[in-house]
């Protein structure tokens, strides 16, 4: 059992934001995960994560919690997807060749081929982007600057950066498809 009280929320803005936003977090992750139970689990994990962090001043603790939960969710989905693919490959190999060694190799090769093709398409689109959009993409997505930092570096407004990012993602999504 995880003990949720007492929370020292006066001194920890993240914990106080958690208390304030808990229901909103559950509602968000419910629609993302299509599961009440999954959402409750994930929001509990957010709590565990922030309880282990030292109290610090985070610019926008409410938004931070949603972002933290998103990262936990995506990590979990990656693991699940990998496991599902392994299972599928195992069945394929088991019923077709029964060759034990091929299991891991087949799965890794498929993953690599998919990833390689997707990467090639992304690179193609990025190279065709108009210069300002490509620069915004490079600074934000590749260098990891925030929108505000990207805007400062390019000497444009943050809303311009956000328009550039929308252009980039739309084009990449159209090309990568699926």
């Amino acid at each position: 059992m995880v003990r949720q009280a007492p929370l020292d929320d006066d001194r920890n803005p993240l914990l106080s934001a958690y208390l304030e936003r808990r229901a909103e977090l559950v509602r968000y992750f419910r629609v993302r995960l299509r599961s009440d139970e999954g959402a409750e689990d994930l929001v509990q994990d957010i709590y565990l994560k922030i309880s282990s962090l030292p109290a610090s001043d985070i610019g926008n603790p409410g938004a931070y919690l949603f972002r933290l939960g998103t990262n936990l969710m995506l990590d979990r989905l990656k693991v699940q997807r990998r496991a599902a693919r392994r299972d599928a490959d195992w069945r394929d190999v088991h019923f077709s060749t029964a060759g034990g060694q091929d299991i891991a190799e087949g799965s890794a090769a498929d993953d690599a081929a998919d990833a390689h093709q997707r990467l090639a398409r992304i690179i193609e689109v990025v190279n065709e982007l108009p210069a300002p959009a490509r620069e915004a993409f490079r600074l934000h997505k590749l260098e990891g600057l925030t929108h505000a930092e990207t805007a400062r570096a390019m000497n444009v407004s943050r809303s311009s950066v956000e328009k550039y990012m929308m252009t980039c993602l739309k084009r990449i999504l159209a090309k990568v498809g699926r």
Binding site: F66, V126, R134, H147, K170, V176
Partner: protein
């Protein structure tokens, strides 16, 4: 008197200006485009919990919205995961043309 009714409005009319899809109004209609607008909005360092709540309401509207958002988010994650490779493959293409024509005297 109307301004005193704001709290009631908050309860009865959940559609606030910050709840409308962001920036690109031409995007309206295609869930894929709207999803990208929402993704960029919540990935902004200016994003607030209100933005996430507004996104929740948009996601709850339809399965198509939820799927489009998941796909955009996954793509964005794949880009970040491959940032080094993408940077390496696109760096050399930065056109010299941006710097203006070579000085021929």
């Amino acid at each position: 008197v109307a301004s005193l009714g704001r709290d009631d409005d908050n309860l009865t009319n959940p559609l606030k200006p910050w709840m409308s899809p962001p920036i690109d109004q031409k995007a309206c209609g295609a869930p894929e485009d709207e999803a990208i607008g929402w993704l960029v909005r919540v990935q902004s360092d200016a994003a607030t919990a209100q933005d996430w709540v507004a996104l929740t309401a948009w996601l709850e509207i339809s399965e198509a919205h939820a799927q489009a958002f998941a796909r955009a988010e996954q793509l964005s994650g794949a880009i970040v995961d491959s940032a080094h490779e993408i940077a390496a493959a696109t760096r050399r293409r930065t056109p010299d043309a941006q710097l203006g024509p070579p000085a021929v005297v």
